[in-house]
Amino acid sequence: MTFDYAPAPESRAVVDIAPSYGLFVDGEFVPAHDGKVFKTVSPSSEEVLSEVAQASAEDVDRAVKAARKAFEKWSALPGAERAKYLFRIARLVQERSRELAVLESLDNGKPIRESRDADLPLVAAHFFYYAGWADKLDHAGYGHNPRPLGVAGQVIPWNFPLLMLAWKIAPALATGNTVVLKPAETTPLSALFFADICRQAGLPKGVVNILTGDGSTGAALVAHPGVDKVAFTGSTEVGKAIARTVAGSDKKVTLELGGKAANIVFDDAPLDQAVEGIVNGIFFNQGQVCCAGSRLLVQESVAEELLDALKRRMRTLRVGDPLDKNTDIGAINSAEQLARITALAEAGEAEGAERWSPSCELPSAGYWFAPTLFTGVTQAHRIAREEIFGPVLSVLTFRTPAEAVEKANNTPYGLSAGIWTEKGSRMLWMANKLRAGVIWSNTFNKFDPASPFGGYQESGFGREGGRHGLEAYLAPSSPEGAR
């Protein structure tokens, strides 16, 4: 007899998905101008969850106009009143968190343990945090009476659909902007449920508009002349295209893009916790995280035992049904993403790195990829340079702290990095030398609304979270008039 955990599925009954959804514009759901729709599927089963509207350039125009109209009153509202709307939203998210967690796991494929214990608590916390800023902007360090920019066009990714929405909408509304947000094509549902939360909160119509659609919708939104601010989270490639689109305009831009973070383990690290940090760093959300610790840099003197321990730990990872409360690794978000991960992993093998995965049975339907480790990786390998955005860890070794820094920084990205050592002075020295926006030492993949997040170099610019996150949505009253 073995201790096999019986299935422990979270109930789907808590969420009621309509067969179809329109666009949320000016406070109501409307069909797309040209009537186009697309289906959203559950990546763990390929089951069609719903049909949503495909917003066109006309819909973008309509939504931007609604947001512009709403801006006048919304920005004129006393901060304390805006704050109360955001507090209401935060509470509503908390009240409906089980429903939203299940919905997120269905539409995205992520394990319910993560949507329940990470995504949703962070969503509510983000609204709480920025609610409190709305009437304190004079004290935020951006000059006296800093003004909102106007209409924010926001395009978010599929890896943390509702959390990325919160990261975008909460600071935008707190500072008095209005919003047109486009969720990712493969994960539109939680944003549409958020529209319902806006209704329950009594948010004035037009303050938040949600347009579902594909890349063309996002491109139209970014290019729309009525948009004053563009906020994008997604791939570096699209980020560059956006930067080109807005060049020469007055649009303020913040971009949160890709990464290829080094997770650096020294021989004096707390090894058991380092193993947990490595696992969390690369397998959290199936590795579909821009700040994932996708390059493990381990000191040669401890590499063998660390890898043994890591493999042993990987054998205990439970891959499967995202709604099972004991699942550690869920489904890959889409067939397209699975193909990309598969191709890069194959490139890793072809280039001579050694591939290893624990034996695990993958479901037959849906999009799945086993947790994977590559050893014998060098800086020249594609899997050491390109963002895989999947549960694939590339392991490299180093001999000295200087070599670790050199390798870690040898990338066009610069979003995050991890350091594992019990020596405080070495940790601080490393943290100082690493060119990345977030440094996790003796921990990894920690997020908090009070903590600024964002990258160096090609990982984007601007920060989300904390006091710093306000800057993206404010026109500072600089006497010089710049920015």
Partner: protein, 345 residues
Amino acid sequence: MTWRYARRYAPLVTMPITVPAYGKEAAGRLASMADVTADDGALRRFLHGLPGVDAVGLEARAATLGTRSIKTTAKAYAIDLALSMIDLTTLEGADTPGKVRALCAKGIHPDPTDRGCPQVAAICVYPDMVATAKEALGGSGIHVASVATAFPAGRAALPVKLADTRDAVAAGADEIDMVIDRGAFLSGRYMDVFEEIKAVREACARPDGSAAHLKVIFETGELQTYDNVRRVSWLAMLAGADFIKTSTGKVAVNATPPVTLLMLEAVRDFHATTGVQVGVKPAGGIRTTKDALKYLVMVNETLGEPWLTADWFRFGASSLLNDLLMQRQKLSTGRYSGPDYVTVD
């Protein structure tokens, strides 16, 4: 960490065939580690060379394992397993032979209405109650565990502690739960602690050449830091402990999931290094089925199958038993049970 040591002691572990800590071969395995226990300096260097423990990360891991959802068949299995791992304990100044006999009866038939209910692993008492318990348990197969060595404070001279131990063994104890000298450990006299454990282990020997199994209680609530818990775990295992145990149940902080997880990791690493299998016993404060299942999940995901038996994992508990029984009844009947449907002993 161990793997590092595993490499350092490569000849030992090229084929680490598992041997039980109480078996004859274990001594040979420990002897091969003799250089790290050769003198005070070597022992200190070894213990302080173990990897540090990051408290926040350890606690987060224990908390995550605590979110495992154990349902239906898995729950039924785990409840019976937990029942069979209980060291049903009474350690009160007011203990009487009658009280001990009642507890033994309960240990044999935890649920009088269900003869299929597993019996507990052991009855844990003070040394003067060993004979009574032994007699009451008869041929049930349930062990008698006796605390010893001036339990719970351990503040007595070594000869007194050894006499205490020999007494309990002579009275028929199958297992001895000793306490370490926390004062000696905290003041850095590691070799004193090491030698004392070895001496108690020798005192566990019976004239026929067999020996009572030795559990070593750390009183982790008094050792305070996780680094200390890892060090003392290795120290005790090097000295020949058959089991390592968190607590006496007599201080404010008893067994906690992170401390137990850390001890499980130490046992895992010690096994990887020496091949010697050592048991773990969290004690004190584990009162509910939900708690017990969290511990079993930790064992399952840290040490795995070989440790999921009463030979290698125990719960030091008293009130846990009735909660397990009520949950067991709920699973078989589908309705919630109540305290009047389980026995009070």
